[in-house]
């Protein structure tokens, strides 16, 4: 017996997104319809005429995944089906950038859709171009390191906060290295009606320049260093669901080619931002 996401898919060895997909289908079960954006998730799982998904699946474009999902759920409900969960699966390129408008629309209408973003912080499918999810100073093929540029110049977009600002019933962030947390948050999201959003931090060993066997531990380090906060928004209230060990961010950076060029000043700058986030949160807790 295999998962509802089968082997034979074309993901790179050590792929974090493939781990996320297994976690998603194992948590949500058979009674789902997957609406999948263009991106790694689609090209690795459904090269014509084959599919690694043993659940109903529709591939659509980068820009309209939430709109298609809204249509699918409207059709199901019109047929009298009030149980099937419509699930969007999209990468950060589709979610943060190209499909951002359609996502905002779906959230604002509070359509009965569970949107899952697997976030690997760049356009990996097309050859590691920067997205608005790519972190500050990271090397990609469109934020190169040389005389004119020293990696990406902008901060990562705070998408979870933007999603939560739509006042959706549930929004959360999790990480492939914590399978029980992923499972818990997805099952919780599944039980709620309305627009739900879960962001899963999923490493890309190829795009980040990490050894394949570190696929999971590098994602865990993002949480342990405080770079990727594990959060939950319910009824407008933000909650930190896991207190990180707060290892120095350098421990996370030094294993990745995309951060190899960082100067001590740049590392300190990022550490300061991370420290600032946690100081703000801890201050809020003491109130």
């Amino acid at each position: 017996m295999t998962d509802l996401f089968t082997p034979g898919h074309r993901a790179c060895a050590g792929c974090g997104a493939a781990i996320a997909f297994r976690q998603i289908v194992n948590a949500l079960g058979k009674d789902i319809v997957i609406v999948n954006a263009t991106g790694c998730g689609e090209i690795i799982s459904t090269p014509f005429p084959e599919s690694a998904w043993e659940v109903p699946y529709i591939h659509t474009l980068f820009e309209n995944v939430p709109a298609v999902a809204s249509g699918v759920v409207a059709a199901l409900r019109a047929q009298g089906n009030d149980h099937t969960t419509v699930v969007c699966i999209a990468g950060d390129g589709s979610t943060y950038d190209i499909g951002f408008g359609a996502l905002s629309g779906m959230l604002e209408r509070n359509d009965d859709v569970l949107y899952i973003c697997y976030d690997n912080e760049a356009y990996m499918n097309t050859g590691v171009q920067r997205s608005s999810s790519t972190p500050l100073h990271a090397l990609t093929t469109t934020s190169e390191v040389g005389k004119a540029l020293h990696g990406k110049e902008q901060f990562k977009k705070p998408l979870l906060d933007i999603v939560a600002a739509h006042r959706v019933p549930y929004a959360a962030s999790t990480c492939i290295a914590y399978p029980f947390d992923v499972d818990k948050k997805l099952k919780k999201a599944k039980a709620i009606r309305g627009a739900r959003f879960v962001s899963i931090f999923a490493s890309c060993v190829t795009g980040w320049g990490v050894d394949t066997q570190l696929g999971v531990s590098i994602a865990r380090l993002a949480v342990e260093t405080g770079m990727w906060p594990m959060q939950e928004y319910e009824n407008g209230e933000m909650k930190i669901t896991m207190k990180p060990a707060r290892k120095p961010v350098l421990e996370y950076f030094k294993l990745q080619r995309r951060f190899k060029h960082l100067t001590p000043e740049e590392v300190a700058e990022i550490q300061k931002t991370v420290d600032g986030f946690w100081a703000k949160h801890e201050a809020g807790e003491k109130k």
């Binding site: 998962d3 082997p7 034979g8 074309r10 060895a13 050590g14 493939a18 084959e50 399978p179 570190l214």
Partner: protein
Amino acid sequence: MMKAAISKPGTAKNNKTGDWRTFRPNVDNQKCIKCGTCQRFCPEGVMGKIGEYPEVDFDYCKGCGICANECPKKAITMSEDK
């Protein structure tokens, strides 16, 4: 490979990815505590059932080594696949 007429949906299982492999995992059942860590993290889902000793499906295992790296008992070692 193009297959023009499709009478039933194809499955990715037709694609045996085991030949991508350079390294192979070797499981030592003496050290294994059946915790399920390798089975949960395997990107291919080919380490067998949680609750049982790992059984690697070498038709698909790509040899990434995540199982060996994550195993809390160091019961899995990687060796060159010849």
